[in-house]
Amino acid sequence: MTHFQRYRVTPWLLMAPQLIIVGVFFFWPSLQAVEQAFYVEDAFGLSRQFAGLANFAAVLHEPDYYQALGTTVVFSLSVALGAMAIALLLAVQADRVIKGANAYKTLLIWPYAVAPAVAGVLWMFLFDPTLGLVSAGLESLGIDWNHNLDGDQALLLVILASVWKQMSYNFVFFLAGLQTIPRSLLEAAAIDGAGPWRRFWTVTFPLLSPTSFFLLVMNGVYACFETFATIDTVTGGGPAGATTTLVYKVYEDGFIGQDLGSSAAQSVLLMILVGLLTLIQFRFVERRVQY
């Protein structure tokens, strides 16, 4: 083996385990989904027929699909913005405390270590209409809480649970971002006559924008894909599809409805959608956050 060949081969060998895992568990199923999207299959998976774009056309003519799209938009925006806003607020506070800072930080990071399904169950119990602590409290305030019947309440609940789960992740990044801002900049701003509020919005916040941008992308992806387990445990997509996001609908139609063609078409659409969103974010937002 010549030196040149060895130089070409070794890196591939070293990457092989990772590449194989990604290939088997990500690329292969993705390709299958794309293929599947162009076929109609009978309910037992015994035969299938090429259908061209029929699956896509069917999906796009389905009113339920647009309801899920609307739910996804509301859900994702609320989760991403809510989780980021709360995390930023907490990070700013945690950055300020001197005594017991580590205890705060550890406590705030904990939710991230909780599995999504477990987090879902936790929130479900807290808000359970008959047993839940929070719902009992709300009851005494005159609010009738039943997310099993009320679609808006159900959506609010999965948003809360998802925000709580994602907040820690954002918190860590915001805190790290805050700590890279030199103190002298804020001191200079104070001398320049900016009060705390103005200092935050004219110095701290702009300097955090690369972090915020990164988190916006990550939170968008999280809200679109990774909240599945939370939704599944808390509401199961209901009531009446009120918490069925696009991802949840892929699962429902494919695994419960056994309509694999439609489900595959939806996942292809979802992939395209998220790809586009990320592209837009990078093209138009990223340019503004560099300084």
């Binding site: 001197i98 030199p182 002298s184 900049l185 001191e187 200079a188 701003a189 104070a190 001398i191 320049d192 006559g193 900016a194 009060g195 103005r198 004219t202 110095v203 702009p206 300097l207 924008s209 300084y291």
Partner: protein, 370 residues
């Protein structure tokens, strides 16, 4: 236009460390006071308490005879130039300079006029649209200066503003700062490590040591009559030579056994420190006679440092561990290893007692400088 009055100013950090032990200082209108001292002596702390970035734990700070202890930095009408410049990285040069004016609600047209005028003054006109990262170190420094100037504050505070620049640029900016400060007639407090900067810039020089003011006076007064051994060793480069001496009647016994005619009026056997600057040690031209009341130090040259105009000779004197440094004429031919006879005349000598206090000051009030 402002005066600054510090009375028994004390700063104790929350961890219990007292960084300033009662500083008394009055800065007059339009005066540039330079603060020097070894690392960790509290220079930055002092400046930050003046700016309002650190709270004052005791004593009083007044600007224009108005107590400002409890005012926010913004309300004190001061400007500060930071060592790392602290320019806002996400703002253009223009916005960096305009920021303080915007915060104070100055009209847009006024801001434009003032920023442009300041940019003109500092030769920044062509750079107004750039971000700080697109500037050289010297340009950043000028922007930091501009940001301070444009607000027309009562007091300028500088914390080692030139320490990140190369030697040549530092000289240039030093002159620039001096010129601007005089032209604008603004009161300024300037912290530095650099001897030359301190000596050349200061109207008045404050030497600090461990949170206290050691001495305060014009640069030449501190150079000529340092009040303590610490100041004597700190001002001047290379540093003053210190020789332990013992009083023998009307004379002082030197470490190598020589004796110098110098009446101190102290008891026989008293231990003192004799200080002499390298530039005040002379050599005797061949064949010349020793002046009266002078004493010769016979030394061996260990190391020479030719500086061009001068040559520094690091020599060894019998009975002394520290080298004795002499600043000789650059023409003077000396070689390492040769013996060198240095002449100590009775003039321009400094005597310090065991506590490091200047001796002359105890005896004659005229000598007191502060």
């Amino acid at each position: 236009m402002a005066t600054l009055q510090l009375s028994a100013l004390e700063k104790r950090y929350p961890n219990g460390f007292t960084a300033l032990h009662g500083i008394d200082l009055a800065v007059e209108d339009g005066e540039l006071v330079v603060i020097v001292g070894p690392s960790g002596c509290g220079k930055s702390t002092l400046l930050r308490t003046l700016a309002g970035l650190e709270s004052i734990t005791a004593g009083e700070l007044a600007i224009n005879a108005r107590r400002v202890n409890d005012l926010e930095p913004a309300e004190r009408d001061i400007a500060m130039v930071f060592q790392n410049y602290a320019l806002y990285p996400h703002m253009s040069v223009y916005d960096n300079m305009a920021y303080g004016l915007k915060n104070r609600g100055v009209a847009k047209a006024d801001i434009r006029r003032r920023v442009n005028a300041t940019a003109e003054l500092l030769d920044l006109g062509a750079l107004l649209d750039r971000r700080p990262r697109q500037l050289s170190g010297g340009q950043r420094q000028r922007v930091a200066m501009g940001r301070a100037i444009v607000r027309e504050p009562q007091v300028f505070l500088f914390d080692e503003p030139l320490s990140n620049l190369d030697a040549k640029l530092r000289v240039q900016m030093r002159l620039e700062i001096r010129r601007l400060q005089k032209r604008l007639g603004v009161t300024a407090v300037y912290v530095t490590h650099d001897q030359t900067e301190a000596m050349t810039l200061a109207d008045r020089l404050v030497v600090m040591n461990a949170g206290r003011v050691e001495q305060c006076g014009t640069p030449m007064a501190l150079y000529d009559r340092p009040a303590t051994r610490f100041v004597a060793g700190f001002i001047g480069s290379p540093a003053m030579n210190f020789l332990p001496v013992t009083v023998r009647g009307e004379r002082l016994e030197l470490p190598d056994g020589g004796e110098l005619d110098l009446a101190t009026g102290l008891d026989d056997g008293a231990e003192l420190t004799l200080g002499v600057r390298p530039e005040h040690l002379t050599t005797l031209p061949d064949g010349a006679a020793m002046p009266a009341s002078a004493v010769a130090l016979d030394t061996r040259v260990e190391l020479i440092e030719p500086l061009g105009a001068d040559t520094l000779a690091y020599t060894r004197l019998a009975g002394l561990d520290e080298p004795v440094v002499a600043r000789l004429d650059g023409e003077h031919a000396v070689a390492e290893g040769q013996t060198l006879r240095l002449v100590l005349t009775g003039e321009r000598l400094h005597l310090f007692d065991a506590e490091g206090q200047r001796l002359a000051e105890r005896r004659c009030a005229v000598d007191v400088v502060s």
